[in-house]
Homo-oligomer: 255 residues x 2
DNA sequence: AGAAACGTTGACGTTGCGTGAAGGTCAAGG
DNA sequence: CCTTGACCTTCACGCAACGTCAACGTTTCT
């Protein structure tokens, strides 16, 4: 029979059959005088076997290996491996659907915000407007919120909650102002260490612990000198970045 | 920050970042005098949002559409659609694993055969050797066995079981011999109709029903004239193919 | 100063075919 | 005889989401 007939018989396209020839999955049959491929029933059986394996999800070159190894042990190995792979995929899809459901629920409650509702509520209680550094800080928090797992996000926002009390807000505004003042200062300005110490004194304990943990957990976000990545973002001046360097060093020493 | 820093911060490759620029998922930032891209924290936030959607399985151009539509209704639609798609995938994988398990169990019992155990057992009881047509018939049965669903295969083999009794075997050998004799005959040879009638008389009822059903169910395997695909396979002579044409016509008339 | 490690753009490789393009072959019908 | 339409042939691009050179300039460390 000709290629179209073979293809219709097994239920694939002629392109697929030729593709399998090209990959060596199916032997090239004899040719008729006009150059057409001339298939026998054996070829249909072979092609059907290839299709069965392919529909199970085996890659075509795996199928070639299996068929070349002339049925026996190799097939079992590959099938078991494939099954494990599929099990993994099932898990991955389950996880994705879970996250998707969470994201959908969240979108229902809060359809127009880029951050989680919890973080949005915290941001409303933090200083804003006027201070350049306040804007920077809000962006940082938004970034962490966006990259965190859905489960982590709420806990993280709650950690920041103490900073939203009226007194903390006032202190926060003062500190932001002092950071802004350092925009043009040199890294060894005496106000740097002073400010770092004041911040360290007023941070809730849980936040200090979290900041230290994040340094250990994600070394990528800090360079070798322990300098905060914000230094890289060109948003902060060297003196401002130095405040955080000193602050982190203090926290490490006290812990 | 520079592209490598941004990439490390969000946890992707620099190639990915540039790819997103190319697709318009992430705006191109300002350039430094040396041509390097200069990123701000906003870009990290944006990139992280893109990644979250991508990890959920959204296609990149869908993400672009969603982000362009400036969060609102569109997002929900796409997410719901995606969820439905994932549910479908879960089902598909579950099915594949089921078939795989069946195939593995089968391979355990019968590790070196190309056909199912049931069909192998039937083939052992059918005529073989000597007759060209016997070989052809065995190949046809193997083909059907290979292409059928695992559930169908056993039932199909059982349908053939009556042909494996010693008496049926003897009749079968005689019939094969008479078909072989027609190799050089003309399609209107009187032996054709005679042989078809004999076959029709001796076939079990269930097999006749099945043959008729397969004609209805898979019209592709027959051409417009109702001629058996074997005519196409070049294995049979015109007279031999005619036997089956007449046989099928008889079966249709009697039903 | 030279090497290592970045950055730039450009382009090909991957998977499993779909889908032409450009042309040859074959059976049927006017 | 010529056309039409349905086959066949090989060649080769297209898809998704990047990975991976290539060829070259820049920055940074030693």
């Amino acid at each position: 029979m000709k290629i179209g007939e073979l293809a219709a018989l097994v239920g694939v396209s002629t392109r697929t059959v030729r593709h399998y020839h090209h990959l060596g999955l199916l032997p090239e049959p004899e040719r008729l005088p006009n150059g057409y491929r001339e298939y026998r029933l054996r070829d249909a059986v072979l092609l059907a076997r290839v299709r069965r394996l392919a529909e199970l999800g085996l890659a075509l070159d795996e199928i070639r290996d299996v068929l070349a190894d002339d049925q026996g042990k190799e097939l079992r190995e590959v099938l078991l491996e494939l099954d494990a792979d599929l099990a993994g995929q099932q898990e991955a899809i389950r996880l994705r659907r879970e996250r998707l459901a969470a994201l959908l629920a969240e979108a229902d409650l809060h359809p127009d915000s880029a951050v989680s509702p919890a973080m949005a509520s915290v941001l409303r209680g933090l200083p804003s407007g006027g201070s350049k550094f306040a804007d920077f800080d809000r962006e940082m928090l938004a970034l962490v919120d966006t990259t965190a797992d859905p489960g982590e996000r709420e806990a993280f926002a709650e950690l920041l909650r103490p900073l939203t009390t009226p007194e903390a807000l006032a202190r926060g505004e003062a500190i932001y102002a002092r950071i802004d003042e350092l925009a043009e200062a040199a890294p060894d300005d005496p106000r740097v260490a002073e400010l770092a110490a004041d911040i360290a004194d007023h941070l809730p304990e849980e936040m200090k612990a979290m900041m230290l943990a994040s340094v250990d957990g994600h070394p990528d976000t800090f360079n070798e000198n322990g300098r905060w990545l914000s230094e890289m973002s060109l948003t902060l001046s060297p003196a401002q970045a130095e405040v955080f360097h000193v602050l982190m060093t203090m926290l490490k020493e006290r812990s």
